[in-house]
Symmetry: C2
Subunit: 168 residues, 2 copies
């Protein structure tokens, strides 16, 4: 199971690819790649969307993830920013759908709650828990990358619950 987590943004989109080797007894979650897709603020929105789409397609081609776990963007305070984010999220969803991936969407607070245990966790707390859950020597940098990884973890940790319950 390979999950691509994405924290969409227009200037910077964080992403993380996490695998779950379910066959192994423990420590089965591992980080494959994470980073940030940046687009140039001086470019027009359509040019930036094109760059974001191409990068996401390249990540999908590289790792062939089964699932896209992505933050919802319906909760921001500034309408204009949120709508621009909607554009970015639209091309990410398009790229995932074109590759036949399953798509899971989470409100930011739910991702934090699953990964850190608190819906109002700080970015630093998310970085810390991401590093801990994946046994990394240092936290993913910058925080956008950690947020992308956290989205992937939210899917994998949530998807595990029914499995554990069945074992009991």
């Amino acid at each position: 199971m390979i999950v691509l987590g994405i924290d969409p943004g227009t200037a910077a989109t964080g992403y993380g690819v996490v695998t779950d080797h379910s066959g192994e007894p423990r420590g089965s979650l591992s980080l494959v790649e994470c980073g940030v897709i940046r687009t140039a603020p001086r470019d027009g929105l359509s040019v930036r969307l094109c760059g974001l789409y191409d990068e996401v397609r390249a990540i999908i081609a590289r790792h062939k993830p089964d699932v896209l776990a992505i933050e919802d963007v319906f909760y921001a305070k500034n309408v204009r920013t949120t709508v621009v984010l909607g554009h970015a999220r639209g091309v990410v969803l398009l790229a995932a759908q074109q590759s036949g991936m399953r798509i899971a969407e989470y409100p930011p607070a739910e991702i934090k709650k699953t990964v850190v245990g608190a819906g109002a966790a700080t970015k630093e707390q998310v970085q810390f828990m991401v590093a801990r859950l994946l046994r990394l020597k240092s936290a993913p940098q910058p925080t956008d990358a950690a947020d992308g990884v956290a989205a992937a973890l939210a899917y994998l940790l949530t998807a595990r619950v029914p499995r554990l319950e069945r074992v009991r």
Copy 2:
């Protein structure tokens, strides 16, 4: 000069393709095609975005427009609806950018002002003026299609102004 006008929506996206035969003495604007791209409400957002993207790409392949004229969506009252619209608009901008088209964006009121003469024009007034400017026997149906055509006309009528001024 071929212009593709688009009025983005998630359920229904209106479009119109209009040409400007600048060499001809008068009546040089003509409608090539207009219609509505519909997606199924029962499908998930990503499936609908994929359908919209494919249809827009098909229209671009068919007519090879030079310009995309598209409504801004930053002015709606309902945030959630506007953000979902942002997703749709994102994949339309992506398709246009991938084809190297010039992109012109207009607030809805500016399109109405240019085509009808009043920023608060009704949908029926837009239909009427679209039919009149393009010498159509009947108004484009439904109103979404007329709104797509109106966006294309807004570009062509605005682009003409400097040309006329130079003639004077």
